[in-house]
Amino acid sequence: MKFRALILSNLFRKKVRLLLTLGSFAVALFLFAFLAVVRDAFNRGGSLAAANRLVTINRVSIIQPIPLSYRDQIARIPGVQRVTHDNWFGGVYQDEKNFFPQFAIDPENQRQVFSELLVADDQWNAFLKDRQGAIVGASTAKRFGWKIGDRIPIKTTYWGGGAWEFIIEGIYHGRTPQDDETQFWFQWDYFEEHAPESQKGLAGWYTVKLDSPDDATRVAKVIDDEFANSPYETKTETESAFAASWVKQFGNIEFLILVIGSVVFFTLLLVTGNTMAISVRERTGELAILKAIGFKDGSVLLFVLAEALAIALGGGILGLGLAMLAIPVLGASLSGMLPSLILSKSILAAGLGFALLVGATSGLLPGIGAMRLRVVDAFRRI
């Protein structure tokens, strides 16, 4: 603490340089947080996927349907607890930009298979009684200001086109903040009623809830074997594997984020390393004086490191603070296009760790230089 004045005075010696360096850190940390949040959003499907759930799709592609008749066959396989089926609706509300995921669901099994998505019993019962009823995720309801009882037209270019009208009967909430609250569910019967003849009796995919996650590999194989050599061969995988292959459709997000993150890291390292090196070089005489009057080599190194870490910490907090303010706004504007963007405590902690790592690394070389500085050589130079 007694060295605080010395460290702080040196820190504020060149205010413009300090501001620019803090700004570099802040921008980099903001970018880090944003990339981490996007990566987290894409990977969340995998991390939230239940270990005891399988997804069965048409072997050709998820956009190819599979017969509804498969449901009972799958349900009979030992180890299968429940089966539910869904269909992608692909509509928009009022405007093309108001996109969010809508599914025609199997109301008998949806709640039991996706037990982490919670709907109040009275709302669910009202939904079951209403063919036009819909259950909407809390995030989407908030986004459009929907409440129970509202009549909602959803336009679609598939399934015969036109606007389909739904009545909001309930709002579901995720058990955890990471759970997806953007979905819109409606009755399978209503869908079948309005779908073209060619699409009747077909489901988009099945979600299979198992008695035990240990059965996943065996049951997946049994399902696919069951429908092998049929006109609708299936591909069954765990929900996390399904989520991962879904994300891959967007390209190698992980790699892209890693590359951008690495470029940011090294650029920041060069900028701050250069700043610290210049800052130390400017102070050669002062560092020599400190050593002459009895400050040890280690103390001088610590002073330089403390400055670098203080800049890193300040810039990091600034950048992450901006991210905390901006990411909810960005998330709201991207709602429906991306899963919800959540700046978690672990991302904030990783961001601060990242900032401190860059700070320590950038201060290390100039600090070692200052530590090794020979007083007589320094005096000869000044």
């Binding site: 007694k2 040196n10 050593k291 002459a292 400050f295 000044i382």
Partner: protein
């Protein structure tokens, strides 16, 4: 009284024996100091003069533990410093040496008070004890009212006073002054020399000073000349001569 001869004065505060310093520049060996012997008693005020490159600053650096000799020994108050490790030497400097430089070498972002306090940050003194020491040192150099000024807000003479306060604040065994008036006008130089004299006479400080200026060196009790790395006892100062001091 300081002496360049070994006269068996084992009570001398600073004892230098057979001090050599050689530098290598390119492929050439340059002998800066050649077998120097020197005894300095407590309370002495010794001036070192000599042409540029004669080894004055090198000698001061060796006496202050900032550099190590090629051979020979330097002992201060019974501690032989020439074989101390770098870390030990740093600790020793903090306890025993006060440095005053030609360019003052104050930390520009610290106030006069904070500059003077720097050596005390290495001690276990409490904040209030440090304040007391700093205020005393600033009072000795007559700058109590400039304690919270930054170096850029002070004149050259005032900056050097702050540097002297920093040098004496931890009550070191001796002071090393390298051209303390070299960057000052005559009036300021006289004031600084009066202050150094006061430190010697009133506060019993031992001072070793390098200077080019004969007027300044005349204020020392004894002036030693360095010529081609060899120390020559040149004169006692006029004051001492008047006071009856013999060579």
């Amino acid at each position: 009284m300081a002496s360049v001869n070994i006269n068996g004065n084992s009570s001398a505060l600073i004892q230098v024996r057979g001090l050599n310093k050689t530098y290598r520049r390119g492929g050439e060996q340059i002998q800066v100091l050649q077998g120097l012997n020197l005894d300095v008693d407590k309370g002495d005020f010794v001036g070192f003069m000599g042409p540029s490159g004669s080894g004055k600053t090198t000698l001061l650096n060796l006496l202050g533990g900032l550099d190590v000799p090629s051979s020979g020994t330097v002992s201060v108050a019974g501690d032989e410093i020439t074989h101390m490790s770098s870390g030990k030497l740093t600790e020793w400097r903090a306890r025993h040496v006060g440095f005053v430089f030609q360019m003052y070498n104050l930390v520009p972002v610290l106030t006069a008070y904070q500059n003077v306090e720097l050596p005390l940050l290495l001690t276990r003194l409490s904040r209030s004890a440090r304040r007391e020491h700093v205020e005393t040192a600033l009072a000795i150099v007559g700058l109590q009212d400039r304690a919270h000024h930054f170096p850029r807000q002070l004149s050259g003479g005032q900056e050097q006073r702050v540097a002297i306060a920093r040098a004496i604040v931890s009550d070191p065994t001796f002071l090393l002054c390298d051209e303390p008036t070299g960057d000052l006008d005559r009036k300021s130089a006289d004031e600084i020399m009066a202050l150094i004299e006061e430190l010697v006479s009133k506060h019993s400080k031992t001072v070793l000073m390098v200077t080019h200026d004969p007027v300044v060196s005349a204020r020392a009790h004894m002036v030693l000349h360095l010529e081609k790395g060899v120390l020559v006892e040149a004169s006692k100062s006029r004051q001492n001569a008047m006071a009856g001091g013999g060579a």
